[in-house]
């Protein structure tokens, strides 16, 4: 079976996810302008510790090997370590994504003692000015402090995750150097107009020229750089980037949110992409295997308006979330289509309705998206 045949198989879905994202809380101590989950305030319907453990038990039974835990800020939960340990005991590998606020010396040591654990620290700039403009005053220093604690506790290689924006795309070399200096692995991911990201998309998303810059950088320097397969829309520029190069939503991945709802992926927290709930009869397993939404996502995709474009096989029409939250039709070009078809469509049609995320847990005081960043 060739690589393409494998991808064709995966697009039809599997009996269980290969990997999934589990947001365990909507609470967060930061208020990043582009937060994909519009986090801030805890939802009162948040899963209890017992319910959280039951989720892990079900994932164990499904033989889900590895999950990504996030939020909000997952370490805010008082039972955070209890949840991690339950995952460890049930042979579920965990990567959790954090802003680093709660990684002090003691917690770093505790994390270092755990098995099957990856830690991913989020930053969006290689200096405080660039980073804090998006993530809030002091957040850069906090993240670096967390990295230092992990290093001092001999945690081993952790991950540094960056959302690529208009303002940090020139810092890719420095991000790599920063990761190298800690013996950490760099991860760069695509910004989607999801959650609060819809409000800052126009100011933050990379320009067409910058898309090419990202693509070229990945080809030249991306050997040990992770991308979460999030730049496959750029494959139309030339040879394909490593990865499956397909949208995994509802096919090999999905999201379980803090109140137990199941969405196609963390970037489409909206009713149109809600598959069900872990509280449905048959639980998460039945949602994964039998929900109408996921079954429809596993049908062959239609190129729609992209049918006559020779790039479709490479770019697959890009990202569902990027199209949905810019008001573009799903069977057409991505807003960041490398040949400009998305831009053209946005300018030529009156987008009457930009969908709003399903919920908004943002706190009342918000950061404004930077239109430029002045670096010392």
């Amino acid at each position: 079976m060739s690589a393409d045949a494998l991808v064709s198989q995966l697009k039809q879905g599997l009996d269980a996810p290969i990997c999934l994202t589990w947001e365990i809380t909507y609470a967060c101590n930061l208020q990043c302008v582009h937060c994909l989950s519009s986090s801030g305030v805890r939802d009162p319907r948040e899963l209890s510790t017992a319910q959280a453990k039951a989720v892990l038990d079900e994932l164990r039974d499904l033989q889900v090997f590895y999950i990504n835990i996030g939020g909000g800020e997952p370490m805010i939960r008082k039972d955070f370590f209890e949840i991690l340990e339950h995952a460890e005991h049930n042979n579920i590998g965990v990567k959790f994504s954090t802003n680093g606020t709660y990684i002090d010396a003691e917690n770093a040591k505790r994390l270092a003692e755990m098995n099957y654990l990856d830690v991913q620290i989020s930053i969006d700039g290689t200096d405080a000015a660039t980073n804090d403009a998006v993530r809030g005053a002091g957040s850069f220093a906090v993240a670096l402090r967390a990295m230092n604690h992990l290093r001092d506790a001999n945690f081993g290689p952790f991950k540094i995750s960056v959302v690529v924006t208009r303002h940090n795309v020139d810092q890719l070399d420095q991000f790599k150097a920063l990761a190298d200096s800690y013996g950490a692995q760099l991860r760069i991911t695509r910004l989607r107009p999801s959650g609060r990201g819809v409000d800052s998309w126009n100011e933050l998303h990379p320009t067409q020229a910058q898309q090419r810059q990202i693509y070229n950088w990945l080809l030249a320097h991306g050997d040990n750089v992770l991308t979460g397969d999030s730049f496959f829309h750029l494959n139309a520029l030339g040879e394909s980037l490593p990865g499956l190069n397909m949208c995994g939503a509802g096919r090999v991945v999905c999201l379980i949110d803090p109140i137990g709802d199941v969405y196609a992926c963390p970037f489409v927290i909206h009713d149109q992409f809600k598959a069900g709930s872990i509280f449905d009869e048959g639980g998460f397993t039945s949602v994964w295997r039998d929900s109408k939404l996921f079954l429809s996502l596993r049908e062959p995709e239609s190129a729609g308006a992209c049918t006559s474009c020779g790039n479709y096989d490479s770019c697959q029409g890009g990202c569902m979330a990027a199209k949905f939250f810019t008001g573009l039709p799903l069977d057409g070009p991505d807003p960041e289509c490398v040949i400009g078809a998305g831009e053209a469509l946005l300018q030529s049609t009156r987008i009457s309705l930009i969908p709003k995320p399903a919920m908004d847990h943002s706190r009342s005081v918000r950061l404004n998206a930077p239109t430029s960043v002045s670096v010392r």
Partner: protein, 52 residues
């Protein structure tokens, strides 16, 4: 009806060779056959779009 046939694109990251199947042509003396199969493929656990 069925999924579109994806276009094969050669990538710099292919670890094993292309799929090829050869069959011995029908001759009086049978030629040895060797079937090349791509039996495994490694993918990064991070290599799936739609996760953190």
């Amino acid at each position: 009806m069925g999924a579109m046939e994806p276009v094969e694109t050669a990538t710099a990251y292919q670890k094993l060779g292309e799929v090829a199947e050869t069959e011995a042509t029908a001759t009086k003396i049978a030629a040895p056959t060797v079937i090349e199969e791509l039996l495994i493929e490694e993918i990064s656990i991070d290599g799936m779009c739609g996760v953190y």
